[in-house]
Symmetry: C2
DNA sequence: GCCAATCCATACGTTTTTGCATACCTGAAA
DNA sequence: TTTCAGGTATGCAAAAACGTATGGATTGGC
């Protein structure tokens, strides 16, 4: 075969890809963990090598030229393949020692995972753990994490999932707050309380309606995307919030609202990429978490 | 976005691809125009970086491991995208000076192209020309050539083609050979002559049958894939062969067999990749050849 | 309108990579 | 068995790429 057209510096293509996606040389250099002058030279060299201007230097930053935009789709394809290569290669590694990245919601990351990770690290001291605490689902396909804990079953066929239990979610308030609003006991009384909302969470409002509460926008004077900030607001007596029962019940100064009624039960899924499940280290951590969460749940 | 899984040395992936496809480090190094030790170190470094053994060093050469085979498909995808990148980038170049690669059959390359290229180089001294003389169609998609001359219309939509004339093909023999077989004049007499065959060319035999000749395997004692060797055999009086009329008629000592009858007329197409046609140099050469061949044909 | 922040390009010393020469190995043929 | 051809790995000097430091330029906020 003729390899002439493949025989250019592929690292320069990578430099072009990340620069275009990140929008600036500096940001791309940070992402690739190299310095900005190096990346600048790589991109310039690629432009010279191809004989095509990829970026227009305008003021503070770069802008893709029409030619650069045309060429970007091909380096994107290279990047996708490179990503798959790295993913599959990781899946072939049989080493238990090394790094693993877990993704979970803030609450799970803050309250459920720490004791499990402590136990894991006693059993497997060679494994270092990174926790991505995020309330949106990480993209396992792009390997933003190796293993994710999610409240829903993934639909993508390239992901494998195991249901490890159910989380009962309840309404919680500090005793101070309940005193301040006069120790309500009826649903009608709770309809006049303040609640904390997570952005535009329709599912949560629907669950509350099903619970029996008739809440309007005025019931949500506090909004935060951060579940941990939300929990602090609850603990400090600003409003009523929601929490997994096993966590909320452990919190002194906070009590469950109408504990005899169930607000919401959500499943808990362990998810990993199919390719990565062939990696021994991922398999070990996955099975460990599955056993611990199932046993505890 | 998270670029960690893309952040490995892409040149090492290229080294892996070409080594796997070529079958040995030495061959791959020749293809990439680098030295074998360099390539050896790149492949070794990739294996170490991924933590996966790609090749098994087995005696005289390398052999892909099962893991290497799995990973090969992804670097193949990277290579395809890299190829498209280079192709598209070349198409964006506006420089007239530079190199261009023409593909044609041996006969066309040897007899039709030389005067045209001479004229082209007088008009455009900055263009250097490479001729790929091959009797199978070069893969313009993989850029084995920039422009091809073909006897048929390509079907791939990514190729653009222009019909530049028709080639009349006739049967030719040396006067010495015709004397030796007794100056035959009838079809029946020519049925007892010797002919030269190009491998398994059904189309040619069908044309001869349509011409009126009833030939069997015994009529083809000489076989060669090389059209030029074939022509030498004709000139040196070993058998009857075929040739474009304008070339055959110019050859002293060789005459056309039954010139009043037409053996075959085949179109001549100029073909280029759609992406490359936006390259000014390719456009210049393409249009030059189209004009010259149309005017001459 | 000025200042701070951010970004890109260039200069120079250092690190990494490459090419050359060479040693070593295997498989086939004399 | 010896020899030879073709292939892979290692030592060392040259070349290329990289990081640090720095200058020039523009945007956004006060």
């Amino acid at each position: 075969m003729d390899w002439r057209s493949v025989n250019f510096d592929w690292n320069r293509a990578r430099a072009f890809l990340v620069t275009a996606e990140e929008g600036s040389l500096s940001a791309a250099a940070r992402a690739l963990e190299i310095t900005q002058p190096t990346l600048s030279r790589q991109v310039t060299a690629l432009e010279k090598e191809l004989g095509v201007a990829l970026f227009e230097r305008i003021g503070r930053g770069l802008e893709l030229t029409p030619n650069g935009l045309d060429l970007l789709q091909h380096v994107r394809a290279m990047g996708e393949a490179a990503n798959q290569l790295a993913l599959t290669a990781s899946g072939r590694s049989e080493s238990v020692e090394g790094h693993i990245c877990l993704s979970a919601t803030e609450v799970t990351a803050a309250y459920t995972l720490p004791p499990l990770i402590q136990k894991l690290r006693q059993q497997q001291p060679g494994i270092s753990v990174e926790i991505v605490a995020s309330n949106h689902a990480s993209d396992l396909q792009r390997r933003e994490a190796d293993i994710a804990l999610r409240a829903f079953q993934p639909t993508q066929p390239e992901l494998i999932a195991r249901r490890v239990g159910d989380i009962e979610v309840g309404l919680y308030a500090s005793t101070d707050y309940l005193s301040a609003i006069g120790h309500p006991t009826t649903l009608a009384a709770f309809n006049r309380a303040d609640y904390i909302c997570f952005g535009e969470n329709e599912r949560l409002i629907e669950a509350m309606r099903h619970f029996g509460l008739e809440l309007s926008r005025q019931n949500f004077p506090l909004i935060t995307e951060s579940h941990l900030v939300h929990w602090e607001l609850v603990k400090q007596g600003l409003a009523i919030g929601i929490m997994p029962a096993d966590i909320g019940d452990r919190e002194p100064g906070v009590v469950r609202v109408m504990p005899e009624r169930s607000l919401l039960t959500t499943p808990l899924w362990l998810v990993a990429h199919r390719e990565l499940k062939t990696n021994r280290r991922v398999r070990v951590v996955f099975d460990f978490l599955a056993q611990e969460l199932s046993g505890a749940g």
